[in-house]
């Protein structure tokens, strides 16, 4: 009996602790939400939700770029975070549909889903909810739905420019790319574009392209492999290394940044965003990044919708190109810059094709 009494008392004590902690925590949490509700003017009926791909909203890559676009567009519309716009971080790829559904149930009318992997769930949700506008970042649409924009990029062009830059910087005649998995098409486009761009400058250049051999869930989160692969490429004489594959690619950039001769003999090129801003550790070697400009494209699409309530159907091609050279600006010869500008213009006008996918 003695023990039973003990256990009951202990349970009660723990229960009390829970209730107490709940009460104290509830008070401060309630305060800030009350204020904006009172002052927020009903300026717009737009409510924007964002579902991340597996990972964090502040991942310094895709998710973050798309979220920044949402924040910029929403701020311009006078929306409040929480009521007018919010995000859900996905933890498991099986939860895409459920996470999108949260926004549908809460009457959000613009839903941004980030990443190639959410493509199917986004299409299904768009078909089931024709009154809601969906923006699928990195989701190429084979079939046009009136309420779904596939925001896609010419990664091959971006990669092509990076390759052209690398080939012009290389003294050894060997360059390398450290890539996320070839199970994901945009990564392949970057990798192929890089190779084709380099060969465009110098047909005899040697390009060591290495894709992560693992599954999708590991391929973008393996900086050790990225670093080891970059090291190997350096040992084989590569002097410009393109890191394209999330954190895996970042591992490669950081390896090059700490290698002897970083910034003078060996260089690195980042991917997706201007990695000068997002990966300071790569500053010693980072000459540029092969970008896809997600943020302005997201802002543009949301503005089009909120201003004219027009949903952009089919695919929308966002900007792709090289990031600024930053500290290397003075070290890059003018003729290299001119050549890159010439290629960029030719790619834009269609007079030059990268050759990717042919």
């Amino acid at each position: 009996m003695q023990t039973k009494q003990h256990s009951i008392l202990l349970s009660l004590a723990l229960l009390a602790a829970l209730i107490l902690s709940a009460c104290t925590a509830a008070a401060p949490a309630a305060a800030p939400t009350a204020v904006p509700q009172a002052t927020a003017a009903p300026t717009s009926s737009v409510k924007i939700g964002l579902v991340t791909d597996v990972g964090r909203v502040n991942d310094r890559s895709f998710n973050q770029s798309a979220w920044e676009g949402v924040v910029q567009a929403a701020t311009a519309l006078g929306l409040q975070e929480g009521d007018g716009y919010k995000y859900i971080e996905t933890q498991d790829s099986k939860d895409y549909a459920d996470n999108i559904q949260q926004f549908i149930d809460a009457d959000f009318n613009v839903i941004v889903t980030v990443g190639f992997a959410l493509g199917e769930a986004t299409i299904a949700a768009a078909k089931a909810n024709p009154e809601i506008y969906f923006i699928g970042v990195d989701q190429f649409q084979g079939e046009t739905l009136p309420n779904l924009t596939g925001l896609v990029f010419y990664e091959d062009r971006s990669g092509f420019l990076a390759g052209a830059l690398a080939a012009q910087l290389s003294k050894t005649g060997t360059i390398a790319s450290v890539l996320g998995t070839d199970l994901v098409p945009p990564v392949v486009a970057f990798g192929q574009g890089f190779e084709l761009g380099a060969k465009y400058i110098n047909p005899n250049i040697q390009v060591i392209s290495t894709y992560h051999p693992g599954e999708i869930s590991q391929a973008f989160t393996d900086p050790e492999w990225g670093a080891a692969t970059a090291k190997q490429a350096l040992d084989q004489g590569a002097d410009v290394i393109f890191g394209a594959g999330g954190i895996t690619g970042n591992g490669a950039l950081q390896e090059v940044a700490t290698a002897p001769g970083a910034g003078t003999d060996v260089f690195c090129i980042g991917v997706d965003t201007d990695q000068w801003e997002t990966l300071p550790a790569a500053h010693p070697c980072l000459v540029s990044s092969a970008m896809k400009l997600i943020t302005p494209a997201v802002v543009e699409l949301i503005n089009t919708y909120s201003a004219d309530s027009k949903m952009t159907a089919g695919n929308y091609f966002g900007g792709a190109g090289l990031a600024p050279f930053h500290d290397f600006d003075a070290k890059i010869p003018q003729e290299v810059k001119d050549k890159l500008k010439e290629i960029a213009t030719a790619l834009e006008s269609g007079s030059l094709a990268t050759g990717y996918g042919q």
């Binding site: 829970l18 709940a22 070839d182 999708i216």
Partner: protein, 374 residues
């Protein structure tokens, strides 16, 4: 049920229930420490798991594969084997059922669906047989072998749907040629799909009924048949079992095959009922969660149903929790890990709540009885 049976059941349930409560309390404390509101979070969790018909359907959808992978791990435990390989067996089941589901066009559903399900079971069974055979004939420990086989399975599965990049490599045999550069299989034929019990938007399929029936069948086999008795005896004391004339090697191989088959069935059901195709990103954590389900369910098939329901509910509610309270879904993983820690180390719970050890130790399974021996 007489009084002593009732008490025994109560004793059996006490530790898991207290473990879950303690995990929720510690989870609440963690949220509170990080400045989040645990009440709002748990309210959101509750709403997301049971607050609406859609919530219930999500819970049921999430618990279905967990029931089967949980049974897979639980049955192996009963025979003294630690099946870490449910994840790989699940994947093999998925791949095999898809292989049947995307072929044989024109077969009637009464043939195609059972065939696809059986292919899934066979795939898992085969993947489970390997560690069983290796353990018996070479003494290789099943924990090591199953962990390795998990990697082989997931990379094998990725290969079967490999799109070939654009570098001219051969695409995988199950690759959907209409998908361009995307690595995935085509959708399985309608004739191979499990029908919905409740269709869109609830998406509850007959898999949950299959899983429940299989759980009941497992209970019957383990506790009401000679085979089940041998299995439990091998698990409790392999030497005594051998002395009693039981075929320990045969039981070991058979158990691993059954465990694999169950996980394979989970993969088949998830594919034929829900996803309708396979893509490399579908190789999620249900296999590993099966370990938590089995331990929380005290390796008892009926306990597994309850614990799969609980973990399914936690999973189902997490999206709503994050949406309404802003608490990161990571906390759900923390809670699940705490549940696992508390049930795997019942001494903590017993000390904390001053519970005496159950009177009949004979029936209890020794989780680590075979480590380093055999």
């Amino acid at each position: 049920m007489n009084r002593s049976a009732l008490r025994r059941t109560g004793q059996l349930l006490l530790v898991p229930i207290l473990a879950v409560c303690s995990a929720l309390l510690v989870g609440a404390a963690i949220m509170w420490l990080f400045g989040d509101n645990p009440v709002a979070a748990y309210y959101g969790l509750w709403e997301g798991a049971f607050g609406s018909p859609r919530a219930w359907s999500t819970t049921i959808r999430k618990m279905t594969p967990l029931m089967l992978t949980g049974l897979s791990v639980a049955i192996a435990f009963k025979a003294g084997l630690f099946n870490i390989g449910a994840s790989g067996q699940f994947i093999m089941g998925t791949v095999c059922s898809v292989a049947v589901g995307v072929n044989f066009a024109g077969l009637p559903s009464v043939v195609h669906l059972p065939l696809a399900l059986l292919a899934g079971v066979a795939g898992g069974l085969f993947w489970g047989a390997i560690p069983g055979l290796l353990k018996v004939f070479t003494g290789a420990h099943e924990v090591i072998v199953t962990i390795m086989l998990n990697y082989i399975a997931s990379l094998f599965a990725a290969w079967t749907v490999y799109a070939g990049g654009t570098q001219g490599q051969t695409p995988g045999p199950l690759w959907d040629s209409t998908a361009g550069a995307i690595s995935r299989t085509p959708e399985v034929f309608v004739s191979a799909r499990l029908p919905w019990i409740v269709a869109e938007p609830y998406r509850v399929h007959w898999g949950v009924v299959i899983a429940l029936l299989v759980a009941l069948l497992s209970w019957w086999i383990i506790f009401k048949t000679t085979l089940g008795f041998s299995l439990r005896t091998v698990g409790t004391n392999a030497k005594a079992a051998r002395y009693a004339g039981m075929h320990v090697h045969g039981i070991t191989i058979l158990t691993m095959m059954v465990a694999g088959g169950l996980a394979g069935l989970a993969g088949a059901i998830e594919t034929l009922g829900l996803n309708h195709r396979f893509a490399p990103e579908f190789t999620g954590g249900v296999g590993f969660d099966g370990i938590t389900v089995a331990l929380l369910g005290q390796t008892h098939p009926l306990g597994v149903i309850l614990s799969a329901f609980l973990l399914g509910a936690l999973d189902a509610g997490s999206a709503r929790m994050q949406f309404s309270s802003g608490v990161s879904v990571d906390i759900i993983q923390v809670i699940q890990a705490l549940v696992l820690a508390f049930v795997a180390a019942p001494m903590i719970i017993r000390q904390l709540y001053r519970i005496r050890k159950p009177s009949d130790q004979a029936e209890s399974t020794l989780f680590s009885s075979r480590w380093g021996r055999s």
